[in-house]
């Protein structure tokens, strides 16, 4: 009966209580939403590259190698010679190997030289492969396949000509060997979206008239002549490797790291990704802290509402006291009321989150390549909800204790 009266009392103040509930609901939705985005981002980050057992590059740091080979951030300090690459490819543990060559750019996007094997072996989100949305993967020497962001940003479509600049953010362009867009990839949510992919030979072809970073004056080899030349690469930036059996991964990694001809480094992408996330993760913690603050703010709002309701409800409390309710009952009623408010807010917040998620999930996936799975609330989320309800009850203790005092000192006479 008292619970029903508490609910009726809340209902009678539906407007203010509703506002408080809304604030709590929004804060809970925000908190859980941030949590969802965070875990989603983490998962999608960890899934940037999958199916590749080792990444091999010149010796540097593992995070650095991961950054330039997968995320196209920063530059390789050294290359791997073509001979070493062939040595590696010949090893019995190697199931497949894909070379990548970086160093050129097109507008703000990196150009990556590789083989068509790249499209077979590069996987993300566990088992998803690269698919062309339009056109086909490169066939001709001067064909380029572009990621979806490249196409969207620069407004390219299949068959458009593009010019590749030498070096990164440089204005000296390889004007003489114009490429053609042969295909546009579907959005992946990985750095591939922001990459222009050409063949290894194409990278060599661009540099026919260049020596140590500068154009040889007066020399311009026509494309037809270039096609006749030997375009075997002299070096690669890194290589993606698949092993014949997972058990071989570590022995191959050791073999690469101990390679005598040249200092090389082999990394496990999963491990390096985790290491990198550890660095990126600081922002994640900050985000979480902010959303916790929002929840705290909403709870303080709850406390303020109860406080401001105390005066108008002294009468109510005096009646209960006159009927024989103890001051503890008054305190318990207020705490119960707060817990009820917080509970409704929390549940509403979850509903809100799922509603938004249902609508926004495809959009977020398309826009950011961030997949937010709609799963039933996890145990951790249920704990969050319980925590919010408990916190609501706890903050309400402050006004409840004041009500307790008032109801002790008021007696039968309410002085207002």
């Amino acid at each position: 009966m008292l619970v029903r009266l508490a609910a009726a009392s809340l209902w009678a103040r539906a407007l203010t209580v509703g506002m408080t509930i809304l604030a709590i609901a929004l804060s809970v939705a925000l908190f859980l939403g941030v949590e969802k985005v965070r875990t989603g981002a983490k998962a999608s980050f960890a899934n940037t590259i999958s199916g590749t057992d080792l990444i091999v590059g010149a010796r540097s740091g593992s995070v650095q190698l991961l950054l330039y080979s997968v995320f196209r951030i920063g530059n390789a300090t050294n290359n791997v010679t073509w001979d070493s690459y062939l040595d590696l490819a010949d090893r019995p543990e190697v199931d497949w190997i894909v070379p990548i060559s970086l160093g050129d750019s097109h507008r703000q996007f990196r150009v990556m030289g590789t083989t068509t094997d790249f499209f077979d072996h590069y996987k993300y989100r566990r088992d998803r492969g690269l698919v062309t949305a339009q056109g086909a993967i490169m066939d001709d020497l001067f064909d380029a396949v572009i990621g979806s962001d490249v196409a969207a940003t620069l407004g390219y479509s299949v068959d458009d000509p593009i010019v590749v600049a030498h070096g990164i953010a440089s204005f000296t362009e390889h004007k003489d060997q114009p490429f053609r867009v042969s295909g546009i990839l579907e959005k992946t949510g990985t750095p591939v979206d922001r990459t222009v992919i050409v063949s290894m030979e194409a990278i060599e072809a661009i540099h026919v008239d260049w020596r140590s970073g500068a154009k040889i004056p007066g020399q311009t080899t026509p494309p037809d002549e270039i096609r006749q030349m030997d375009l075997t690469p002299k070096a690669v930036t890194a290589a993606l490797v698949g092993v014949t059996s997972p058990l071989k991964t570590f022995s191959l990694q050791r073999a690469v790291n101990e390679y005598r001809e040249e200092p090389l480094l082999a990394i496990l992408p999963g491990v390096a990704l985790q290491e990198l996330w550890g660095i990126v993760g600081i922002a994640e913690t900050a985000l979480l802290a902010v959303s916790v603050m929002v929840v705290v703010t909403a709870l303080i709002g709850l406390m303020a509402t109860i406080f401001s309701s105390l005066n108008e409800r002294r009468r109510e409390m005096a009646i209960l006291r006159a009927m024989g309710a103890s001051p503890w009952t008054i305190l318990a009623l207020l705490v119960l009321e707060a817990a009820l408010t917080a509970a409704v807010g929390a549940v509403l917040g979850v509903a809100l989150l799922y509603g938004v998620l249902a609508v926004a999930q495809p959009m977020v996936d398309a826009a950011f390549g961030l997949f937010l799975p709609i799963t039933p609330p996890s145990l951790a989320e249920l704990w969050v909800l319980l925590g919010v309800i408990a916190a609501g009850a706890i903050v309400s203790m402050v006004p409840a204790v004041r009500a307790y005092r008032l109801s002790l000192s008021d007696g039968m006479t309410v002085r207002t």
Partner: protein, 229 residues
């Protein structure tokens, strides 16, 4: 019944705070079944005295015995329980929880009073009977308390004070919010029920015109100075 319904002796009470209002009552006794009218000016401490009888506040010295129990000997929770079981309370106005139904309001004291609950095996039926006896319309029980007229609300408050037959009824100016005709009607109904239940009634007012209805009339001035036997 040998013991007095209400028995105050050498009571001294003052509200907390320096220079706060205080009361000292040498002696005040009300016999069981007696109806007493307490007259006094505003601010003379009538409501304070009722709070003492109800045990919502405690005298600093002296004895306040209600229904044969010295309230000073009880714990806070004990006093609350004692009040619930033995005293029905009617305020001047705003007696009811506005968001509850009439029935919620009438049954409320039973929630805290095991003895009254026992005396009232079928509370809903009793509530309906009381409402009928107090001239409240049929179907009033399910109405929201706030939707009733002031006179009706006061009668609901009487029903609430009477349910489970507490031996003592305490009423703090229950008619002052009513016009003259409703006042008379209200008092008729109240006295009818008080007689039927044989309750002790202590009513506060500053309107001496209703004095003839009561067994005894006391003025606050008498209570404080001389004490009343």
């Amino acid at each position: 019944m040998g013991a007095a319904a209400i028995d105050l002796h050498g009571v001294a009470f003052h509200w907390p705070g320096r220079g706060a209002f205080g009361l000292s009552i040498p002696s005040l006794t009300v016999a069981p079944g007696e109806t007493v009218l307490l007259l006094g000016d505003s601010g003379s401490g009538k409501s304070t005295l009722l709070s003492l009888i109800c045990g919502t506040v405690v005298a600093q010295s002296g004895t306040v015995a209600v229904a044969g129990t010295d309230l000073a000997g009880l714990s806070g929770a004990g006093r609350d329980r004692h009040r619930a079981d033995h005293v029905g309370v009617i305020f001047q106005q705003f007696n009811l929880l506005p968001f509850g139904t009439v029935q919620d309001n009438i049954l409320l004291p039973l929630r805290f009073a095991p003895n009254r609950r026992q005396r009232c095996p079928d509370p809903r039926k009793t509530a309906a009977q009381l409402c009928a006896a107090l001239g409240l319309p049929d179907g009033v029980l399910v109405q929201r308390a706030a939707s009733l007229s002031v006179g009706q609300q006061q009668r609901v408050a009487v029903a609430r004070a009477l349910i489970g037959q507490p031996p003592i009824l305490v009423a703090d100016e229950p008619t002052s919010a009513l016009d003259e005709t409703s006042q008379a009607q209200f008092l008729d109904l109240l006295f009818g029920q008080v007689a039927a239940q044989g309750s002790t009634l202590v009513m506060v007012s500053h309107d001496p015109r209703m004095a003839p209805r009561f067994d005894r009339v006391l003025s606050m001035a008498d209570v404080i100075q001389k004490g009343a036997a």
